[in-house]
């Protein structure tokens, strides 16, 4: 690559003196033969999650003497920055976690190697917790998240609104009517979470688009967003989306989170399982965990959360694999689920969880995930698709003309895809 050779050349000039002076090159110790395996998480600032990792690591390190896991934690907000820089410097750790939809981009760029975990282990996991790119498994996660619409039983009853079920979710007309009714008693009846930024937008709203019949990209070819993101279905969905804000049903007032539902300032909150515990504590038995709205093609929610992979340059891939295999024990999955309030990846771990067990309070989220979860498109072009989608959706929310905004987004995505020779598809 050009940029490489340029800076290499300059650096070579600077270092020539060192070499000539007979100074030896440092031996590589970053993921070297000593059996040390470096591992990066995005979990800095999350003591609950880190405690589980520490437990796994100390158990693993004690269970054998060949390998030693060394952990490094990054805050989520700047994790991708750190990975990109480390990849540029060829200093990636052996084990790294990543947000599911980003995986194909990293696999395509050559950051990752196939995961190589036993088939029966992979087979026991929820499909959306396994990251596949071109039929090869590159990543797997301990949990998945799920979205739902939170509501209060009492509020729906008072307004004569039917409580939807997994088998009979709200249709769009029903939902529109319900929100319109609730609008009379709430200034803003619906919280769609639009104050958030980044990946949330694709995670939360592209399933609604899919439920209407559109998509982020044509998943058959992965070569164009034309028709999927700007076809009649997409226009229909985004027109609805724009109306929801224009009618005052929803707004993008901050801050991010579920506080407005807890304070009963909104009646319906489209939010994630991670906010359910607080809601449960303050709303109690009155809390409803409702399935997403059926926009026409059945309800959909996003699948695929943080997952683990092994870097291509890892010199101790066997050790990394041994660690991952060790870490996928049900007791650890349950521990993650109960500390983070996320859906465990195996049925056995879910059974043992205090939130997701058979009769447990948040069981419904596991059901929603199983029934409705759809992964985001597994293409290396995803980061550009996602950031383009976010911008288009935000612009539409703020009043931009729907069709032309979507056409612009499609053009940006398609230009990007062709500039990368179709991302290998």
């Amino acid at each position: 690559m050009k940029r490489k050779s340029l800076s290499m050349l300059a650096a070579a000039g600077l270092s020539a003196a060192l070499v000539l002076s007979g100074c030896g090159r440092a031996s590589d110790s970053s993921s070297g033969g000593s059996g040390e395996i470096t591992m990066w998480t995005h979990s800095a600032g999350n003591p609950g999650e880190l405690a589980v990792y520490q437990q796994i690591i100390s158990d693993f390190n004690a269970s054998q003497s060949k390998y030693k896991i060394v952990q490094q934690n990054f805050p989520q907000g700047s994790y991708n920055e750190a990975i990109t820089s480390a990849a540029a410097a060829r200093k990636l750790p052996c084990l790294l976690d990543m947000d599911g939809p980003v995986m194909p981009n990293w696999a395509w760029a050559g950051y990752l190697q196939p995961l190589g975990l036993p088939d029966d282990l992979i087979g026991s996991l929820l499909p959306t917790t396994v990251g596949r790119y071109k039929d090869t498994v590159y990543s797997a996660g301990y949990w998945d998240a799920a979205l739902s619409i939170l509501a209060r039983k009492s509020v729906l009853a008072k307004n004569n609104i039917r409580i939807p079920t997994v088998d009979e979710p709200w249709t769009l007309d029903e939902f529109d009517a319900a929100v319109a009714t609730l609008k009379s008693s709430y200034r803003t009846p619906l919280d769609l979470g639009a104050a958030d930024k980044g990946e949330w937008w694709s995670y939360a709203y592209s399933p609604m688009l899919q439920s209407t019949g559109g998509d982020l990209i044509d998943r058959g070819t992965m070569k164009s967003a034309d028709g999927a993101l700007n076809g009649p279905d997409a226009v229909k969905f985004f027109t609805w989306f724009q109306q929801a804000f224009r009618n005052g049903w929803a707004d993008n007032a901050g801050p991010v989170g579920n506080q407005r539902f807890i304070d009963d300032k909104v009646a319906l909150s489209y939010t994630g399982v991670w906010n359910a515990k607080d809601a449960l504590q303050s709303v109690g038995d009155d809390l409803l965990i409702l399935p997403p709205v059926d926009f026409g093609k059945g309800p959909k929610i996003g699948g695929g959360s943080w997952q683990w992979g092994i870097s291509a340059g890892c010199k101790n891939a066997d050790g990394a694999r041994a660690y991952l295999k060790f870490s996928f024990q049900d007791k650890y999955l349950t521990a993650f689920a109960d500390s983070q309030v996320v859906i465990p990846a195996t049925a056995a771990a879910a059974k043992a969880s205090k939130y997701f067990g058979d009769a447990a309070a948040l069981r419904q989220f596991a059901v929603l995930s199983q029934k409705f979860a759809l992964a985001r498109p597994a293409t290396p072009g995803y980061p550009v698709i996602s950031s383009t989608f976010e911008k288009a959706a935000k612009d539409i929310m703020s009043g931009a003309e729907v069709k032309s905004t979507l056409d612009t987004a499609v053009k940006a995505i398609d230009t990007d895809i062709s500039s990368q020779n179709g991302y290998g598809f």
Partner: protein, 286 residues
């Protein structure tokens, strides 16, 4: 203008300049839910309701505050200290000595002011990741490539500063040239003149540059989050990211920002008199 009106205007302005910071500190004493429900009224400024230092305790559980403060202190001190020496020397040479090339150097130095760091951050990562470095390994001096994940990478690129050079050059040019000539006749070298004459006369300029380089160094954010991997080397501003989890810990953010703003305020309050008189004395010119 009558005195009463001046006071009234100044008090109004003081409220305008302080209210967000009062909000920050008051909020740091409240639980998240209350911050959000108080936000629209006067209660936002008042330490009422459920007041405690719990957020501060929470901060310490989440972030290694002491370590981060220490790192920032180290990085900032070296940037400011080394910057004072290097930039003042350059400013001295540019403003007080005649040598071919000084006009070109001055133009280049001034031109660097128009480059916002964000626009060169990415090329910079590629560049520093290729630079050679020296280190001790098994008792032997060896070299390696890549500055990522070190203190150097947070410090060295920020020592030289075009704005500082410019300010020093401005200030030094106000010292009468006759002093140099007298010293030259006495046989003093240029470095001696710089060290024994120019520097002692320029305390205010040093104070100004110190404060002006302290602030950006302390607030470094984008760069360390790109190049620092080891938690033990992270500076304070990167710690902000720790609070933006699935649910944002607003109270702890307010507590943390109060904590990392406090040292800067203390430094400023301690130096403000010298600073203001120094800006005045440095007679900034275009």
């Amino acid at each position: 203008m009558s005195r009463r009106w001046i006071y009234l205007a100044m008090t109004g302005l003081a409220v305008f300049f302080l209210f967000p910071l009062v909000f920050m500190f008051v909020s740091s004493l409240k639980p998240d839910g209350q911050i959000l429900s108080d936000v629209g009224g006067w209660r936002a400024f008042l330490p009422v309701g459920d007041i405690s230092f719990r957020n501060y305790a929470g901060v310490f559980e989440r972030v290694p505050v002491g370590r981060f403060l220490l790192n920032s202190l180290l990085v900032t001190t070296v940037i400011v200290g080394a910057g004072l020496v290097i930039n003042s020397m350059a400013g001295f040479a540019i403003s007080r000595m005649r040598w071919t090339g000084r006009r070109v150097v001055l133009s280049v130095v001034i031109a660097t002011l128009i480059v916002p760091f964000e626009t060169i951050a990415v090329p910079m990562v590629y560049w520093v990741s290729q630079l050679p470095t020296l280190l001790f390994q098994n008792g032997r001096l060896v070299y390696d490539f890549g500055w990522l994940d070190t203190y150097e990478v947070q410090i060295i690129p920020f020592i030289a500063n075009g704005f500082s050079v410019f300010l020093f050059a401005q200030y030094f040019s106000t010292i009468p040239a006759a002093i140099d000539e007298a010293a030259r006749i006495d046989g003093a070298g240029w470095f001696t003149i710089y060290r024994k004459i120019a520097v002692p006369l320029s305390g205010p300029a040093f104070a100004t540059v110190a404060i002006l380089t302290f602030l950006p160094a302390w607030n470094q954010y984008l760069w360390p989050s790109m190049v620092v991997q080891d938690e033990n080397l992270r500076p304070v501003m990167v710690g902000m990211q720790y609070f933006f989890q699935d649910t944002t810990a607003w109270g702890e953010i307010m507590a943390y920002t109060s904590m990392i703003t406090l040292p800067v305020l203390v430094v400023f309050l301690a130096f403000q008199r010298a600073f203001v008189s120094s800006v005045a004395a440095s007679g900034v010119k275009g």
